[in-house]
């Protein structure tokens, strides 16, 4: 039995096409501005002197991020009305009938996973396509990726398959929430901070 569902993201393979983001919006009927999964474009760098020559030294890669169904879901721990709860298989849900719309969880979550939904006047977020997954299917984002950059499954299994990395620039320190996330870093990720990279499309995410 699955005890903690998790996502795998391959930053080395992601082309930034946003198919995952669109598949999610489509499946969940999300209105404009509400993104349960979103793609950050991380970019930075410039010219670097090598010997006598100036050579370009840039970093550029993408991160596709949704709720990480954290093992320590600080969103739910902060919620004053216990509207965020974790199922036995690790999936974290928002109870929109209970949420008072105080938006405190949005501050608490360091992954910007919670999004305010003006239709229900509550927060909303990725529910891991639980109905599809319960029926033996696949989350819409994972199914949509043409690069096979996303995968899902039991956290322990994903770790065995892809390794232990769960943080790359500019994601927060994972010890804050223990995200159920496995990442294969892009080769530029290690230099991103030192090259003063930034999220280039912050208006979109």
């Amino acid at each position: 039995m699955v005890t903690q569902y998790a996502f795998f993201f391959n930053a080395a393979a992601c082309s930034g096409c946003k198919a995952c983001q669109m598949a999610c919006k489509d499946r969940n009927n999300l209105e404009a501005g509400v993104l349960w999964r979103c793609v950050y474009e991380v970019a930075g760098g410039g010219w670097e002197k090598k010997g006598e020559a100036w050579v370009p030294s840039v970093v550029a890669y993408n991160i596709s991020m949704a709720c990480n169904h954290c093992e320590k879901p600080v969103c739910g721990l902060s919620c004053p009305v216990k509207a965020i709860w974790k199922r036995e298989d690790g999936i974290v849900f928002v109870d929109t009938d209970r949420c008072i719309g105080c938006r405190y969880c949005e501050w608490a979550c360091p992954y910007t996973a919670l999004r305010f939904n003006a239709t229900t006047n509550t927060v909303s977020k990725c529910d891991f396509c639980y109905d599809a997954v319960d029926a033996g299917g696949t989350p819409a984002c994972v199914a949509a990726c043409p690069q096979r950059a996303l995968d899902f499954g039991d956290l322990a299994e994903l770790r065995k398959k892809y390794g232990e990395t769960r943080q790359i620039f500019p994601l927060p320190d994972p010890s804050q929430t223990d995200p159920a996330l496995v990442i294969k870093p892009h080769r530029d990720a290690a230099r991103a901070a030192e090259r003063a990279a930034e999220v280039a499309n912050w208006e979109e995410v």
């Binding site: 993104l35 979103c38 950050y40 600080v74 721990l77 902060s78 919620c79 004053p80 009305v81 216990k82 209970r98 949420c99 008072i100 719309g101 105080c102 938006r103 405190y104 501050w107 608490a108 979550c109 360091p110 910007t112 305010f116 006047n121 509550t122 500019p170 994601l171 927060p172 804050q176 929430t177 930034e198 999220v199 912050w202 979109e204 995410v205």
Partner: protein
């Protein structure tokens, strides 16, 4: 940032209530518990003043509570807000606010009815003082989220306490002036206010860089820094400095009893209240405005991609 106006109003009103209470409620209580410092038995004017100060605290708390509803998108579900006292500082904040309010209300009632058992009112007021402090603590803890590095700093509790004390001292001085008249008697409140405003200026100057007002941002936010933050910071400092000037003027006028200065400082005295001077009112308005600017700045510090 601007959309957080209900929270700006809630936190400032709530902190001011605690501040006024600490400036008046606890001293009131102590003056009876330790009769040595009590002086002559209270006359009608002092009694009225006590009630007025406590009523001001209650009014501020009621306004804060009311305004906080504007922050919720489902206010009618708010009755469940105390559900998560075990892990949510938001639940705890509301718990302490309600507790503080209830205790102040009870204390006011007991003070008003002047029961034979005066000790009871005092005990209630002192307990209320503790509840008020816990209200401030929970308010700070609420924002000191590990996941929000720009809030998880000493500045959060420091600025909240400073807002409480500064506005508390100034509002108390103003109310005393209006209800029983100004004069040298309450000069200590003016001196205290000047000191607190000066401390606020120093704190905001020293700690602003750590908040990314000038340097790079703390934490995971990679959104470009907005010009508004710098302007709010400078605006707050200017307002504080102007406020300090006017309180200083008032304090000096009262200390020296300079007739000309008093006239200048209190040109409108009498027109507004029995003793409220224009310079004190101006100082209060300026400092209040600086707190509002500072609080908007505080909420503006939280930025993640997409915000």
């Amino acid at each position: 940032m601007w959309k957080e106006w209900p929270l700006v109003a809630f936190t400032i009103a709530g902190q001011m209530a605690v501040g006024v209470f600490l400036m008046c409620g606890v001293p009131l209580a102590l003056s009876v518990v330790f009769p040595a410092s009590a002086g002559p038995p209270p006359d009608a004017a002092t009694h009225g003043l006590r009630i007025a100060l406590l009523a001001l605290v209650l009014a501020l708390l009621a306004v804060a509570a009311l305004l906080s509803f504007f922050h919720l998108h489902h206010p009618f579900r708010a009755r469940r807000v105390l559900t998560n006292l075990r892990t949510s500082w938001l639940s705890r904040e509301i718990f302490f606010e309600l507790g503080f309010m209830a205790l102040v209300a009870l204390g006011t009632l007991l003070t008003w009815r002047r029961p034979t058992n005066a000790g009871l009112a005092e005990a209630v007021l002192i307990t209320a003082g503790f509840a008020g402090v816990l209200f401030l603590v929970s308010m700070s803890k609420l924002y000191m989220l590990q996941t929000v590095p720009s809030w998880n700093q000493a500045y959060t509790p420091l600025s909240f306490v400073m807002t409480a004390l500064t506005l508390g001292a100034m509002a108390t001085a103003l109310l005393i002036d209006v209800s029983v008249g100004g004069g040298v008697k309450h000069r200590y409140l003016l001196n205290l206010s000047s000191f607190l405003v000066a401390v606020e200026i120093v704190i905001s100057l020293l700690l602003a860089p750590g908040h990314g007002v000038f340097g790079p941002r703390t934490g995971p936010s990679l959104r470009p820094r907005a010009e508004t933050h710098r302007l709010l910071h400078l605006g707050r400092l200017t307002l504080l400095a102007a406020g300090l000037f006017f309180i200083g003027l008032e304090a000096m006028a009262r200390a020296n009893n300079f007739i000309e200065m008093d006239l200048m400082a209190g040109g409108f005295r009498g027109a507004i209240g029995r003793g409220a001077s224009l310079s004190l009112i101006l100082a209060f308005v300026l400092v209040l405005a600086s707190e509002v600017a500072g609080r908007f700045l505080f909420y503006g510090l939280l930025t993640r991609p997409g915000r």
